[in-house]
């Protein structure tokens, strides 16, 4: 097997495939977690997903993450089952949030209504005057680079996974993967876990997969006393995630870290692979976070980082065999949810390869659903 892409999805696939008895070469043109995995917050969320296939995948994935934390040690992943608190500033937004929570509950999401007056029992520093919120105890967090590295370490220790970092794939065909410095790798199947660059890998095989980058910034504050206990975000975030617009969307997503800094997201823009720093976006993120947590006005921002979410037009990942190339399995396009969805994605890929009955119906993730259009 060859897995292309040493991010979270590739690491999870390599681990699961190796545990199913396969030998795996994991190839990445850069270092481990050099792409989107290294530029995210490590969200494991059910709260931001509407009922449907992605939520079904997320629920399974969160169970698998809990299992991984047991097997590898919560500290090794910085796994924190901290729960998510979604807050609404206006009654209308609160109504929509509670309606969503009601629909989520019917498919197995745990969601507890939090009255306006009780919000500050959950988060002491929240701004006064918010309309109310919903608490999601299943939401959790990992440090994505550590988590991917821990999975890879286990996979390699089993002796069946070879990591080829800094090796670029130059050609793909049935039974073979051509590389720039390691010659041709002969294999039975290929997993495309190249994330935001998954479309380029597909194109090497003559396939079309319209993955586009959706840029996001994260602000990092100076270390602070424990100020934010859960993952806290504004209800507008759910609408931003689902939006198809290329324009800038931003809504406050705020969380503390074990080391002290507070992380502030989340912006979404379709600007290609433009890495330049956008001060207006950073200012907007900071202002929105300070609206939720006025105490943050006193905090300084040390730095900002950015990354590119792998965006597919219907916001669902591509998981499964290419419609015309059964030897090529796609596992990319998870947008901003790839860390959370990685273990269940790896499970689905392995089950599809094994010809087993998959734990869920993968039709909605079928890579052929976009037709033959070029991105």
């Amino acid at each position: 097997m060859v897995v292309v892409g040493a991010g979270m999805i590739g690491a999870a696939c390599a681990d699961t495939l190796a545990r199913s008895g396969r030998r795996v070469a994991l190839v990445d043109r850069g270092p481990v977690v050099g792409g989107t995995t290294g530029a995210g917050e490590g969200n494991l969320l059910v709260s931001d997903k509407t009922p449907g296939p992605e939520l079904e995948l997320a629920l399974e994935s969160l169970l698998l993450w809990r299992q991984l934390a047991d097997e590898l040690g919560a500290e090794a992943l910085e796994y924190e089952p901290k729960g998510g608190l979604v807050v609404a500033s206006e009654p209308q937004a609160l109504g929509a949030l509670r309606a969503l929570a009601g629909r989520q509950r019917r498919v197995g999401v745990r969601a507890e209504t939090v009255a306006a007056g009780a919000l500050r029992e959950w988060e002491r520093h929240l701004a006064p005057g918010l309309a109310g919120g919903v608490y999601y105890p299943q939401d959790a967090q990992v440090q994505p680079a550590l988590a991917a590295a821990a999975l890879l370490r286990r996979a390699r220790a089993a002796g069946r996974v070879e990591l080829l970092a800094g090796v670029t794939v130059t050609g793909l065909a049935q039974g073979r993967v051509d590389t720039d410095t390691r010659g041709t790798l002969h294999c039975g199947a290929v997993v495309n876990a190249a994330g935001t660059w998954g479309g380029e890998i597909a194109a090497l095989a003559g396939a079309a997969l319209p993955v586009l980058p959706r840029r996001g910034f994260v602000l990092v504050t100076e270390p602070l006393p424990p100020l934010v206990r859960h993952k806290v975000y504004a209800a507008d975030y759910v609408a931003d995630v689902a939006s198809g617009s290329a324009d800038l969307q931003s809504s406050a997503v705020v969380e503390g870290t074990a080391a002290g800094p507070v992380l502030i997201g989340a912006s979404r823009e379709r600007v290609g692979f433009d890495r330049s720093l956008s001060v207006p976006v950073l200012a907007r993120l900071a202002a929105q976070a300070a609206e939720l947590f006025p105490a943050l006005r006193a905090a300084r921002v040390l730095r900002a980082y950015r990354g590119f979410r792998p965006y597919l037009p219907d916001h669902l990942p591509a998981i499964g065999p290419d419609p015309e190339r059964p030897w090529l399995l796609h596992a990319c396009g998870h947008e901003g949810a790839g860390i959370g969805l990685a273990p269940a994605t790896a499970r689905l890929v392995t089950q599809l390869l094994d010809g087993e009955q998959p734990f869920m119906d993968p039709t909605a993730f079928g890579p052929g659903r976009f037709g033959k259009e070029q991105p």
Partner: protein, 103 residues
């Protein structure tokens, strides 16, 4: 003759001054950073870590690592390697994250 940065560049600085560090006077020259003046005075540490209360001072010396944080005129988390020394400044050892008001 002892080599000093001033000698190496043939500097003729303006008259020096003093600021206060934890109540003690420290000599400085115009344009010197707090870190440079403290080093010259033989002080290498001016912060205690959040975890473990260990001593810290200048590490990168160029504003990137945030190890040299210090309290300047009541403001915590100032980078000593970037902040210029000023006459009469009240400089103190920084303890922890400097944000006790948020506790």
């Amino acid at each position: 003759m002892r080599r000093t940065p001033l000698r190496l560049v043939g500097a003729r600085p303006e008259p020096g001054f003093e600021f206060s560090f934890d109540g003690e006077p420290v000599a400085a020259l115009p344009g010197q950073t707090l870190a440079a003046a403290l080093w010259q005075a033989g002080r290498l540490a001016w912060r205690r870590t959040r975890v473990g209360d260990r001593p810290r001072g200048a590490f990168c010396g160029m504003g990137a690592c945030y190890d040299c944080l210090i309290e300047l005129d009541g403001v915590p988390n100032v980078r000593a390697c970037l902040a210029p020394a000023r006459p009469g400044a009240l400089v103190r050892t920084q303890r922890g994250d400097g944000h006790d008001e948020l506790r």
